[in-house]
Symmetry: C2
Subunit: 505 residues, 2 copies
């Protein structure tokens, strides 16, 4: 093949990908709309639209045309740009993965997913696992079969981990989780025994919704979220979505009797959003213009939520802003008491309401259950029992019913196995990245105290955001921090912080 030939194919390939990207963008907008304010009666017909667009994306990703592009461009790799080569690699991964599943089984699975989600909703509402069990059994059976089709290295669960966190394995996770657990569990016990429990009554005073909204807008703005490339809406389950890099929307949820949910949720989503708003412009329309993995994405949201939002210096700067919007509520609360109050840690049953210290334990429980399910050591019918045993063991508490326990998360209902670990990985990445950032920005706390976010944001842009999917998660971690995954930074952070908050010697 001569050079001119390959350039022409490259051009056609890019046009082809642009079309896929356009369909995906339309889908992203539809999903945002469905979650923010789409009228109920239009949803059924909208699902048809989602079906048509998704099929188009699937068909284009697995077409003969795509196969030719992949084959021909792979042969001309040397004369193509690095971006094109990355695009081809991503398309190939997707192509191979999709092609291995027989079309009929994939279709059956898609239909099962939506039925299973409805069954899960009902089961959770009625706190009755038996309503969900038959669906979950099928979902697990399909997923086990898919893993066989896809193949695996080492443990079968590795294949599922790799879908959300390319390169992640059971070996790595077993090691870091056991170290993390060994540190957190005794710390949680020390905290429970501490005589220095923080004041928290002020947290639950009424904070009017519209005032919270104004506070959240102001904080987003000050954190560097670009409102010309985004907007803040209200939803039951907060999220961030990058529709394109110039349109990255966040949502939050206001509880008038506990302002923390909204503000920390907003700061969390802000981290996701700033990632997507700062992906290099030239990646638009290449399918590489998104976060590189769930874990790295979560590292950015947790960096913002925990290392910025729950930082003393941050509140030293923002406490007067907070008071401005909540007149009276914090008048008698010193900054120290405020800081200790928002950093209260207590074992709890619901993952999404957990504090930053106990949160990883919730993830480890799910990880262990998933691993056991796919390594053949656990069956679906035994999930509720083992779930409760693990909560007893790790957190010392047991759910009253399955709605508070094994039924609380949506993830398993559509077969998103391998996803949960990303939450904890993101947290470890974030601590490790923070440590590395401190070498360049030793004045980190002083920057927060002065309200100057620019250097921090720029550092993250340069080391993480701009690359989009052109670098793999472990590449980003290693290039940014000079080492592989190291859980010690998170352990140091948690031990040092919580010993101070609870005045443990």
């Amino acid at each position: 093949m001569n050079k001119k030939g390959i350039k022409l194919i490259e051009k056609e390939f890019k046009e082809y990908i642009k079309k896929i990207a356009a369909y995906k963008e339309a889908l992203a907008l539809i999903f945002w709309d469905l979650r923010t304010g789409a009228p109920k009666k239009g949803v059924e017909q909208r699902s048809e639209v989602v079906g048509v667009l998704s099929s188009e994306v699937f068909n284009m990703s697995t077409s003969n045309e795509m196969e030719s592009f992949i084959t021909e461009l792979a042969m001309g790799e040397a004369s193509l740009s690095p971006t094109t080569n990355k695009m081809v690699q991503e398309c190939k991964k997707e192509f191979v993965r999709n092609k291995k599943i027989p079309a009929d089984e994939f279709k059956e699975f898609v239909i099962l997913q939506s039925r299973s989600e409805s069954a899960w909703e009902e089961a959770r509402e009625k706190a009755d696992f038996s309503l969900f069990q038959p669906y979950l059994e099928q979902i697990v059976a399909y997923t086990r079969k898919f893993v066989e089709y896809w193949g695996y290295e080492g443990q079968k669960y590795n294949t599922l981990l790799d879908m959300y966190e390319p390169g992640m394995t059971v070996d790595i996770l077993d090691k870091v989780f056991s170290e993390l657990r060994a540190s957190i569990v005794p710390l949680v016990k020390q905290i429970a025994a501490s005589e220095h429990q923080p004041e928290t009554a002020f947290l639950y005073k009424k904070f009017p919704k519209d005032k919270q909204h104004q506070l959240n807008l102001a904080v987003l703005e000050q954190l560097g979220y670009d409102f010309k490339a985004g907007r803040l809406d209200e939803t039951v389950h907060p999220f961030a979505t990058g529709i394109n890099r110039g349109d990255v929307r966040v949502t939050t949820r206001y509880d008038e009797n506990d302002f923390r949910g909204a503000i920390f949720g907003t700061i969390h989503e802000c981290g996701h959003a700033i990632y997507e708003q700062n992906i290099a412009e030239e990646l638009t329309g290449t399918l590489l213009d998104e976060g590189t993995s769930m874990g790295i994405h979560e590292s950015q949201s947790l960096f913002f939520e925990n290392f910025i939002g729950r930082n003393y210096s941050f509140w030293k700067n923002k406490y007067s802003l907070l008071k401005e919007f909540a007149p009276g509520q914090f008048d008698d609360v010193t900054l120290d008491d405020f800081y200790r109050g928002i950093n209260e840690s207590k074992p709890s049953l619901i993952r999404i309401e957990a504090d930053e210290l106990t949160y990883p334990l919730h993830i480890m429980i799910r990880y262990e259950l998933e691993k056991a399910l796919f390594n053949g050591e656990l069956e679906v019918k035994d999930l509720p029992k083992v779930w409760n045993e693990k909560y007893k063991e790790y957190l010392g508490i047991v759910p009253e019913n399955d709605a508070m326990g094994v039924l609380q998360d949506v993830h398993w209902s559509d077969g998103s196995f391998g996803y949960f670990p990303s939450y904890a990985l993101g947290y470890m990445y974030a601590a490790q990245i923070k440590q590395s950032m401190l070498k360049d920005l030793p004045e980190f706390d002083a920057l927060l105290e002065s309200g100057n976010m620019e250097p921090i944001r720029k550092w993250l842009n340069d080391h993480v955001h701009k690359y989009g999917k052109t670098k793999k998660p472990l590449e980003i971690l290693e290039e940014t921090t000079g080492e592989g995954l190291n859980v010690q930074y998170l352990i140091q952070y948690l031990e040092s912080k919580y010993k101070k908050v609870y005045k443990i010697q």
Copy 2:
């Protein structure tokens, strides 16, 4: 061809159309989003998505596959359902129209359209027609050429009228417009000379935006707008959009110093929306699930805005609701004075701010100019001069500059010639439909006074809404009213109402 063969083709055709409908629905949502709150920085990339989806719709509508469907299904007409036959007819009309334009010229025209719109915006901002003139000249030149490609019966302008109002002709419009003009012009003069000018100072008192919003929500609800199949947002230019029949959204615009814009705008859009919310469910996904023409659509919005919203009995019922949301503003205003105030009529320069009596004159001016442009009696360069002469003649006033005159509407910038008359047609249809409704519901005013909208809405559903595009506009008019277009009903309405408001003997 045997019967089984045709049924299979019908099935495939319907699947094919469903896909087109899905793309159109995605586009409708994107347009809603662009106009309501899409972040600016995302717009450029969103335009790419619009381009991809629009091209797909265009390609599917003009494909060889579509041509086969049309040909083969036309041959089996007798064994197909009436809906399928209507679908084929609509597709054929579209196919033939699009196929007659050489692809290159169509593409050039699409590019010209977007440039021309930008030029118009700038020209209007600077009140300088010369900036827009060269673009408008090209737009007119292309449209003239397209009319030649499309062909015409009688006058060339008929072909353009037919695009928005199938079956409408210059002959019909000349006749009704001259009758209407003969009635309105002297009435406007009588009104100007009347000693009984209504009080209007109370209209301009401050009415807070959030209170107006609540009022508008309440009125929409009471008019029968289904909020489970819609939502109300705020935009610079109010509109209604049927994304699907279960998702028909309206927008409005609040002016704190004149509540009329929002409330009458909302009632107007409500008429459009109730039309689309009540199209028969079985038409979903057939491309027949929209209003049958611009004129019939406008008949529904104007029926709501004028025959309901500006009706004395309506306000007899709603006046206390209004007062509830605007405490104080109307305390000293009797219902009679209020009614006369909101029905003040005065010649004005801006079409979209005109009252219901003088509004048709604005339309007639545009109609006469368009007709002259396409019958070769007028050139673009002379538009400002002729525009001003006609405003002097019809309304007795002359714009200070072209921004207040010939540059005020967006319609010509993208070549929407033939569209303006629909506004006046809709008004005539509405008066004629009202007259016919009175035979079945002589208690019309009493229903409004008691706040019982149900029988009125149901009548409109049964006679107009449910048919969607399965009936042509003139079919609906004739079947509903027993006669063709008759302007006398509108004339009677305007004369009787305005003589009362202005106490003219």
